[in-house]
Symmetry: C2
Subunit: 481 residues, 2 copies
C-alpha cells in the first residue's frame, strides 16, 4: 500500500489523513484489510506506536473496524464522490451580501502607504504612555469573573461611568438603563439598521457624510436620502417631505466638513423628527476634542420627545484597537436594541469593559483626555499656521476649532486638478485625502481633509511647507523638485 505522509503536524495525524484519503479516494475499498501495524511501521520507517495511534483514531471516527491483533478492516461506508459543483459559481449570496459587495466596491479615497507625511484622518493619536496605563488596567481587570445580570447591555459599572461623563461633559442626563455598550460606532449603525429599518426605508444622511454609516445603512437595504450641509450643518429646510425612518447627523462636528449644527437647526431638526415621527441618530464621534470653548451640549439634551439615539465612542479618544462605544437609546427602543445586541454577539468583552470603567472612575481617563486635547490643539495650530504661511489664499480653511482634522477648500480647483495635486504630492511623500468621495454626487467645490493625528508638530510643519510647494507646482511654478 502506497501512503505518502504530508509532513504537517504529528506523524500519527499525517498517517491518519493519508489512510483516510486512500479510503475516500477509493484506493482502499470497504472490507479491505489494513496492513498489520508492525509491518506498516517498518514500511514507512515510523514507530509502531504512531501506527497504533492512527488506527485508533480511524476506528474512533468509523473509517475502520476490528481490533488490533485480529486485523483492521475498512468499514462499509456508503461513499460515492458526489459530482463536484465548484461552490464559487453556484450559490448566489443573499441580497444583503450583494448590496454589501456594492458598497464595498466604492473606494473611499485612496490610501497612501509608507509616505513620510501622511495626513490620514480617522485614526486616533498614538500615546505610548496610554499603552502602559492600559496594560495596568487590563491586568487589574483580568480577574473579572462576574457572570450574572444582563450582560448584553454592558457592564453596569461602565454604564454608570458613562452617565457621569455625559452629564459632566455633554449635558446629557442619562440613566445606566438607557445606555447600551457596543463594539464601536460601526456596530451602533448596524444595530440601528436592524432595529429600525426594513428594506426600502428612507434614511436621511448629511451630504457629505460619514462613509461607515452610509455603508451600513446601504448594505441593510435602506434608501439613502442625502441632504445638503452648509456652515451651520444640515440644511433642515431641505429635509424631505416623504417621511424618513431615520436621520443620521454629526451635529457637534459634521463629518467630514467640520461645520457645527447651529442651535436653531438643532431645534428645527427635533421639531421635524417629532412632527414626522422619525428617529434621529446623533453621532458624537469626536466631540471630546474642542479647542475654543467647552464642547457643545449634545442634541440628546434638547430632545424632550425621546427621539434621539446618541452614540459616543472610546476608539477615537483612546486607540482604534479598542472596540468600545456606547449608545443612549430612547426608552421606546431600549429593549429592542438590547435584544438585537444579544442576538448579534451576546455582549462586549467584559475585561475591557471592567478596565475602562476603572480607568474612568480613577480619573485616568479625564487626565488622558486633557493631555490628548492639549497635544491635538498644538498640532492643529501648527497646521493652521502652516496653511496661512504656505498655502495663503489658495485655500479656504474650514476651521471648526474641533476634532482631529482640518478641511481646506481648494480655490479654483476642479476634480481633475485636485487629483493631479494629490498624485503630485504623493510622489513627493505627502499623503493628501480628497473630500469628493464623501459626497453622493459630484460636489460643487473641491476640498482636502488634513488629518493631524499621525504626525508630530514638526512633521506637520514640514508637511504644510511641502503642501505649499505642491500648490505652487500645480500653479505652473516649481516643476519637479
Amino acid at each position: 500500500m502506497f501512503l505518502e505522509l504530508d509532513g504537517q503536524g504529528p506523524q500519527y495525524a499525517q498517517l491518519t489523513r493519508a489512510i483516510k484519503a486512500a479510503i475516500l479516494g477509493g484506493r482502499l475499498v470497504a472490507g479491505a484489510r489494513l496492513p498489520p501495524t508492525r509491518a506498516l511501521a517498518r514500511d514507512l520507517d515510523i514507530s509502531r506506536i504512531t501506527v497504533l495511534a492512527a488506527y485508533e483514531q480511524l476506528r474512533a471516527e468509523g473509517f475502520i473496524e476490528g481490533r488490533v491483533g485480529s486485523g483492521s478492516y475498512v468499514t462499509a461506508i456508503e461513499h460515492k464522490p458526489a459530482p463536484r459543483h465548484p461552490a464559487r459559481t453556484i450559490a448566489a449570496p443573499s441580497r444583503y451580501a450583494r448590496r454589501a459587495r456594492a458598497v464595498q466596491d466604492r473606494t473611499i479615497g485612496l490610501l497612501h502607504h509608507g509616505l513620510r507625511y501622511d495626513l490620514q484622518y480617522g485614526n486616533p493619536q498614538v500615546h505610548p504612555a496610554l499603552n502602559d496605563l492600559w496594560a495596568r488596567e487590563l491586568a487589574r481587570a483580568a480577574t473579572y469573573t462576574g457572570q450574572s445580570g444582563s450582560r448584553a447591555q454592558g457592564l453596569l459599572a461602565l454604564r454608570q461611568q458613562i452617565c457621569d461623563y455625559l452629564a459632566r461633559r455633554r449635558g446629557v442626563q442619562a440613566q445606566p438603563e438607557d445606555v447600551l455598550i457596543v463594539s464601536g460606532t460601526q456596530q451602533a449603525f448596524a444595530l440601528t439598521a436592524r432595529v429600525l429599518l426594513d428594506e426600502g426605508d428612507r434614511v436621511v444622511l448629511e451630504e457629505p457624510s460619514y462613509f461607515g454609516a452610509r455603508q451600513a445603512f446601504a448594505a441593510h437595504g435602506a434608501r439613502l436620502v442625502p441632504v445638503r450641509t452648509d456652515d451651520e450643518g444640515l440644511v433642515c429646510a431641505e429635509l424631505p417631505r416623504q417621511t424618513p425612518r431615520l436621520i443620521y447627523v454629526t451635529p457637534s462636528h459634521q463629518f467630514p466638513s467640520g461645520s457645527v449644527l447651529s442651535l436653531p437647526r438643532r431645534l428645527e431638526l427635533l421639531r421635524y423628527a417629532n412632527t414626522h415621527r422619525c428617529w434621529v441618530m446623533e453621532d458624537d464621534y469626536d466631540s471630546e476634542f474642542r479647542y475654543d470653548s467647552r464642547p457643545l451640549t449634545a442634541m440628546r439634551s434638547l430632545d424632550s420627545s425621546d427621539r434621539v439615539i446618541y452614540v459616543g465612542t472610546f476608539s477615537k479618544v483612546m486607540f482604534g484597537a479598542l472596540r468600545l462605544a456606547y449608545m443612549v437609546v430612547p426608552t421606546a427602543l431600549r429593549d429592542d436594541f438590547i435584544t438585537a445586541k444579544y442576538l448579534g454577539d451576546f455582549f462586549c468583552p467584559m475585561i475591557e469593559q471592567a478596565a475602562l470603567a476603572h480607568f474612568m472612575e480613577s480619573s485616568g481617563f479625564e487626565r488622558h483626555l486633557r493631555h490628548a486635547t492639549k497635544e491635538l490643539k498644538a498640532r492643529r495650530e501648527t497646521v493652521i499656521q502652516g496653511l496661512h504661511r504656505h498655502a495663503g489664499d489658495r485655500v479656504e480653511i474650514a476651521d471648526s476649532q474641533a476634532g482631529m482634522h482640518v478641511v481646506v477648500w481648494l480655490r479654483g480647483y476642479n476634480r481633475a486638478r485636485t487629483e493631479a495635486l494629490i498624485a503630485y504630492a504623493h510622489e513627493r511623500g505627502l499623503g493628501l485625502y480628497p473630500m469628493a468621495p464623501h459626497y453622493s454626487k459630484a460636489p460643487a467645490r473641491q476640498g482636502l481633509i488634513l488629518g493631524y493625528c499621525g504626525l508630530s508638530s514638526t512633521g506637520l510643519n514640514e508637511a504644510m511647507q511641502l503642501f505649499g510647494y505642491c500648490l505652487d507646482a500645480l500653479d505652473g511654478g516649481a516643476g519637479s523638485r
Copy 2:
C-alpha cells in the same frame, strides 16, 4: 429670575442647564436680557466665574448673544414646543425587531439563582490560575499598536495559530486567509444569516438544537426546518426534499443531546449539501473536551466541495467574558464574510487577539487545555458514578464521553412530572435544567441537562446524592426533607 440648580455635576453646567430650560420652556423669551453676571452670582450665592462660564457656554451654543459688559440677550430662535407624541406608542420597530421580540419571549429553561448546587450548562469552568496567565498576556499585548492591513479578518498571527491548532487537533487543513476572527459563536450565526439568507429561506436545524443559533436564524427571518436526531446525530434520511440554504449541525457533540454524528451520516450530509447546493455550518463548540480518545476529525476535513463553514470558539475553553471565536469559511464566501464583519463592527479588539495569539504560540493555551480537560474528566466521572449510585435505572445516561454536560433521560416521566421534579429539586437547593425547551415540538421523552462546570467534584457528588433523593421523593417516597 427664578432658577433652580439641580445639583448634578459642576455648578456652571447646572446653571447652563437651568437657563436653557427657562429658554426652551418659554419663561425667557427671545430678546430678553439676562441678569448681569455679578447680580446673578449674588442672587444664587455662587461665584461670578461660574456665571461667566455658564454664559460663555450658552453663547457658544447659540442660546444667548451679546458680549459680557454690554449685556446678554436671549437669541431669537424659532422654538415652538412640538405637539408631543410619546415615542413608545408610535414608531413600530422593523420586521427584524418584531421577530427578535418573538424569539426572545420564548424562555430557554428557567435559571436558578443562588442555589447551592446549580447544574447550569453552557458556562465554562472557572480557572483562577488562568486569570493570572491572562492578565500577563493582556499586559504584554497592550503595547499592540499595529494598524494596517485587513483588520476586519482578524489579526494574522492569531489566524496562523488557529490554523496550526486546527491541523494538530481537528484534522482541518486551513490557511490563514480562510479564517475569520469573530466576536463569539453568536456573531458567526448572525454573519452567516446576513451573508447567506434572505427572509423566508430555509434553514435545517437539529431537533433538539442550540437556542443561540435558532434565535439568530429566526430573528433574521429564516424558515426553520427541524430534522430529528438520534444516537448517531442528525437523521440525514429525513433531510427535506425542498432545498434549504443552510444546514446547521453540531457534529462532534450534538447540542444538547450529546450524540456524535457518525461517519456514514457525515458523508451522507456532505453528499446532500453538494447535490442540493446548500451550505453546512459545523459548530464545533466544545470538541476540545473529549475524554475517551482523541477528538473526532471535523466534518470540514471531509469536505471536498468546500461547502462547510466551520466554527470554533475560545469562550468555552477559556472564559465566557472573552468574546473570540473563529470561522473557517469556504473560498466562495470568504470576501462576503469579511465584508459583513467589516460593515457590522469593523473588527474584533486587537489587544485580546494579540494576547491570545501569544498564549497559543507560547503553548500556554495547550497546557491550559490539558489541565481543563483533566479536571472536567474527573468531574464527569463523579457525575456518572453518582448517577449510577443514586439514580440507578430511573435514568438513562446519554454518555458521549465529551463536553461539559451529561444528558439523562428520565424513565417514565412526562412533562408535568419533570417540571414537578425540577421544582422540588429547586426548593432543596439543586438547580436542574430540562431538555424540552430545546425542541421545537414537544419531545417524545423527557430529559435533563446536567452541567458539571460550575461545581467541584465534592459538590457534584453531593448534588447527585440530592438528585437521587429528589427522584425518590417524586416516586412517592421520602416526602419533604
